[in-house]
Assembly symmetry: C2
Homo-oligomer: 332 residues x 2
Amino acid sequence: MATAKDVADLAGTSTAVVSYVFNNGPRNVTPATREKVLRAAADLNYRPNALARALSFGRTLSIGLIVPDIANRFFGELARALEEAAAARGNILLIGDSSLNVERERSHVAAFVERRVDSVVMVSLSDDPDLAPFAKAGIPIAMLHPIDPGQQASSISIDYRAAARTATQHLVDHGYRSIALVNGPTDAAGSRQHRDGFLQAIRACHETIESIELHTDISRAHAARAALDILSRPSRPRAFYCSTDEQAHGVMFACHRLGLAVPDAVAVTGFDGTEHSAYTHPPLTTVRQPVIDMAERVIALLTGQAELPVHEIAPFELIVRESCGPHLASST
Amino acid sequence: MATAKDVADLAGTSTAVVSYVFNNGPRNVTPATREKVLRAAADLNYRPNALARALSFGRTLSIGLIVPDIANRFFGELARALEEAAAARGNILLIGDSSLNVERERSHVAAFVERRVDSVVMVSLSDDPDLAPFAKAGIPIAMLHPIDPGQQASSISIDYRAAARTATQHLVDHGYRSIALVNGPTDAAGSRQHRDGFLQAIRACHETIESIELHTDISRAHAARAALDILSRPSRPRAFYCSTDEQAHGVMFACHRLGLAVPDAVAVTGFDGTEHSAYTHPPLTTVRQPVIDMAERVIALLTGQAELPVHEIAPFELIVRESCGPHLASST
DNA sequence: CTGAAAGCGCTTACAG
DNA sequence: CTGAAAGCGCTTACAG
């Protein structure tokens, strides 16, 4: 491919001027010279080499994203939103999919350091991922869920505890007195907040509520298996609070398999507010995370010059649809 | 961050040796020297700069992927498989999400050329994307669906026509005599093959079969809307052949909304064989694409030294589940 | 086996 | 306003 040198030669100028033209600075170029450069560049089909540029510029204009599973709808929507926000600032998003595998997550961290991404957005598989490589390289990192205070990362997240309390309260208000919590697989800050909020709502009720906590992978298959099991027991839960939409899909699948109507026999709530939650049968009541806004905000933070780390709370919203029963006259 | 120079200084050697150690070649290094280098590198927390490496090495060890919508399950599974195959060969996958927007697709093409990806895998929004930037940069490209002979790209795809014929035949064998084809939004090589195969099966039947073709985006929402419309008409189709699982999800949603049982009132087939197709209500009969194998194969091709372009056909499989009715005694 | 040096393709002070 | 040159951090012939 043509290089800046080729363009400079053809235009009868220097590579410095070629650079000035393509970057609109930092020095001015006379219109006549600029015109010659542009013409030569077009003739030679010149495309600046982003690698060489990054090497001398000192920044790669790339942001890394590490997610547990890119095929998961929530992470897909997140990646889409982050890429758009990054592109709007001239940055490219590098996506690393951990495939639910800690070893691969680690190798993405290493690869991102070697590629010198300017910053990274991460949703980790574990509660305490090894962020040292980023720290040593001076690469700022942000998480999009609750994190422990000890972690050297920024976070932008909705208040899981409050959201869990709200959704569980919704179930309680419907009169359900036996509720299962379908939580994530690990004991992470997020899972703890789901549990806390869930229990707060349950304990606030003047009547006794039976509850049970399940742990499943964030996958339809695992959640379905767990739900199939518990729903086959003699005394099955009347309702399920799920910590992700993906798990809610699995639970609803299990209900259908067993001939248990939703919400008449079993009520279900989700968490995330993915677009697909509106297309289940029946449509899912769920907690919506403002993915677009969160993505926009985290990219602005990471590409801006704010002092990091920073911890921000985004607003959530309970979207009431049909998976919990008829609308309540007076809901809180 | 520490550079090779820093490591060389501390180890009392040259940057050449540092390079030889980290790349295991192309020259040998005595165990003693290697040891000193490794120790110095560890002390300084040295991570080779992949950009600088790419610049002098001449290859970036990166492969670009452009998909219409990364949040779509099929593309998510594809990205996952491609990334795994790429990582196994020391390559990183850069994902560009077009967000169903031709302008963004174009900008990904430009960005990938500037980043000097070694090759690209593409699923284009249009039938005839502008691949010239890749061609001029000498970047090989592969598509994972049928393409027109004119295109300067490799392709690895299942035989859409045969697959469409097989799935439609399955519907015909069940006795359905009014079948809708839910095809993609554009007149692309893939859509044409869906139609051809669909019509072949219909015409091969000795009885008259009523058929209609719909075009929708590859999204649950659009397919649902189209299905809601056609299912509300006085004479509704008895079965739907959908060109993607995503559309099949939308059609099934519409059926449920209208109180039409699947498969008793309406039968549905999908296409892609995403993992989620097994979790619909009822589980979806669909055409499975061997995504993992296709991903592995395309990466092998792109990173190998085979003469390109190349056109390969991958095998498909009709997965019979419950969305078309009871099992047939003698199915073809 | 190892070192000094050129080169990959940019950007940016430094002179003029 | 523009050019010559150094520098970003690697790799790899070229000598020794």
